[in-house]
Amino acid sequence: MASRAHEVRKYQYSFDARVGGPGRLLLWGDLGRIAEVGFVAEAASVPEPVIAADLNSATVWFRRSALAALVDLLRNHTPVQVTISDDGHVDVVKAHGLLDSLVVCSTCSPALVAAKTSGIHEAMRRLIAYCGADASVQICPITFHLDGDSACGAYESGDTGGFSLDAQGRGQVCLFDVEKENRALPFTGANAPLIEDQLLPVHEAMHAWFVGRQPTYRIQEPFCKLVSFVISEVPGGPEYCWFFTSTPDDHPDVLMKYLCEMGMTTDLAAQVLAQTAQAAASKGAALTDAEFADVVSAVMGQDAVPAFQSAGILP
């Protein structure tokens, strides 16, 4: 069985005076119309879905009484996803996003986990707002591990943490908050919910955000760092080019040094990320390095390719 999941971006519905009730509900994604929904009377049989061969669109029917709950789902929840399968199933579901992230710790008190969960969720809310898009529904929910466990392995001195995909393709972030010796703030219930304690969760969540959008580490890393500074309100902001000015050319952050020399700002970086999300969605695949440079050029109003060349990313 094959299936495709499409995130619903917009919806449109009507009441039809010919039938005296719900008319059509149209669900739209980045690539166009995903589904057209018709409604039948409560006592009528529900027609089988009609599914496009490429699994990119479908025509489906629900009973009239389902409209209210469908509109509630579309209006009040995000992300919403339509899954189209070649076995004839079409599902409209509340999908998972970064706000549904899980936080686990095998050695923490429930109160400490709750405090850190509160801080991470607030940071994820700000991250989504700043970037103009959530992480891919395919890798969510993401699980944040606060200590070394079977997923992250045992902590070794100097570990900072990291993002990876688990065996099911879901995101997982190892933070080692419990064991780490070099935390800026002690790992306590009072500090855990603070936005300034979310620097590393935001950084690693940004690596998750880039999944399916841009895969190059030397592009991801400086943007992950910048966004983590912005969201966790690192002192010295809201502009952070000062941090990158002396980055050596062999460092993975160096692209931001050259973009800052061109005039990159916190606001422009947000536009770059939002347009990257849109461009990758329109393409249906991650952007190449050259395509990402084109996005940066369009946002900055000047050719950004030399910055990518200086950073050793483009030839």
Partner: protein, 106 residues
Amino acid sequence: MAFKVHQIKKYQYSFDARTGGPGKLQLWGDAGRIAEASFVSETAQVPAPVIAADLNSATVSFRRSALPGLIDMLRNEDPVSVTINNQSPGFVFVGTGLEPVGEGES
């Protein structure tokens, strides 16, 4: 075939104690009343819309069960419009524009 799309600016509805249910729902635009909707029982035939020749207004009917959804749409979505189309036998839609997912109630 021709059609006009009228944006709804205001709405007004009532319950009629004679019928013990929804009375009339009136939809108003900048140029006046666009549509007057009546409500019929779930098992009754829905009368065909009556459309003005200039396509600026219509008299329509919905089933009583449609009223909560119509009110929810008028209250929470923006813009909401009435499409009046004289293609035989004539149809009238009350519908939203493209609404972003997850925007919440207005």
